[in-house]
Symmetry: C2
Subunit: 208 residues, 2 copies
């Protein structure tokens, strides 16, 4: 599936970011509060009513958003991505950078909304973060069209909720396949490792 | 890590469910609306202000919630679980059942908040759902203490946003290891497969 993208320059991106990031941050905080609240039943009910009114207002204009690429980097504007999306209240969101050594890294914090076993990150959330980071490494920061073929995630120990870091890098490439590896760590060291094979789709091979 | 659990009977669970599920549903809908809205900047700003006020009200009581087990099934009440948690606005949430054939299944719908490539589910979200379902199968519906050792996820084709189903089952067991498999399908058939090894922690082996 090939998708048409528009272009957004730095100034327009900054304008959209400034408009929507505070709303997303407010919703993100509400998600955590609603999950953890212990207020009385009436307050819970009133909160739900107030939230529905806000939702109705936001739904009054709901256009198909154009798919956008950053004009300077060719990187997609992943507004809704559940890991890095600036407009996705579930995304922490991760800010991923490419360091001079060619590795993709991010420091981030996971809270109650990501909990699996008590006090620990859900194993599938670790897989989600690693899938994103290995994908970033395999596609040179999402500027190349490649899809995940297979990913293997190895859990070394429980990953505590709180501050974490992740890094990913290309291990090797062959033909249309790119092999990437990555690791999530807390202050005590690695907690989860992953390796993945990323495959360039047939339509992208033709246009190289 | 061994955690103390309280018990909740069916009546108390129903009471808590009735109190919190509408709030979570309202927040879930707001998450989608805030991600997709195209209203004018003033309305975006007013929405964020209104949301912050609701959040403040909900934060006025934020107790440490007790860890609860269903009295009748011994299954943990996974309020906050990002896949099945009734109080987690990010969770679809999946309702997982164990069928007479011993397989764990769920029908569910994923929307904009789970998007990776345009129109498709983020690969890592598929991994998250499969990690949960394989875990359900490996632990007899979360009634046995086992942690994911390794999970391998194989992407057969893109998984479209919309209605999906997932099933998982135990393939075999040996010593303290349980091997589970699973698959996500849309109406046209399988999109993603997974296999995982689940390991009983040392402290649980002692108390069997």
């Amino acid at each position: 599936m090939q998708v048409e993208f528009g272009r957004v320059d730095a100034q327009e991106y900054a304008r959209l970011h400034e408009r929507y990031a505070p709303l997303t941050a407010a919703v993100r905080d509400l998600v955590d509060a609603s999950l953890r609240t212990g207020v009385d039943p009436d307050t819970v009910r009133d909160a739900a009513t107030a939230i529905r009114a806000v939702t109705e207002g936001l739904r009054s204009a709901q256009p198909e958003h154009p798919r956008l690429l950053h004009e300077d980097t060719g990187r997609p504007v992943a507004w809704s991505n559940p890991v890095i999306g600036v407009r996705n209240p579930f995304a922490p969101p991760l800010t991923v950078r490419c360091d001079p050594d060619g590795r993709y890294r991010s420091e981030f914090t996971l809270g109650a909304v990501c909990e699996g076993p008590p006090g620990l990150v859900h194993g599938g959330i670790c897989a989600l973060v690693l899938d994103q980071l290995l994908g970033e490494a395999a596609t040179a920061g999402m500027t190349e069209a490649k899809f995940t073929g297979t990913i293997t995630v190895r859990y070394l120990r429980g990953t505590p909720l709180g501050p974490l870091q992740v890094e990913a890098w290309v291990d090797r490439s062959a033909e249309y396949k790119t092999y990437a590896r990555g690791v999530i760590s807390d202050a005590q060291g690695p907690t989860v490792e992953a390796e993945g094979v990323f495959i360039m789709p047939a339509w992208a091979r033709d246009v190289r």
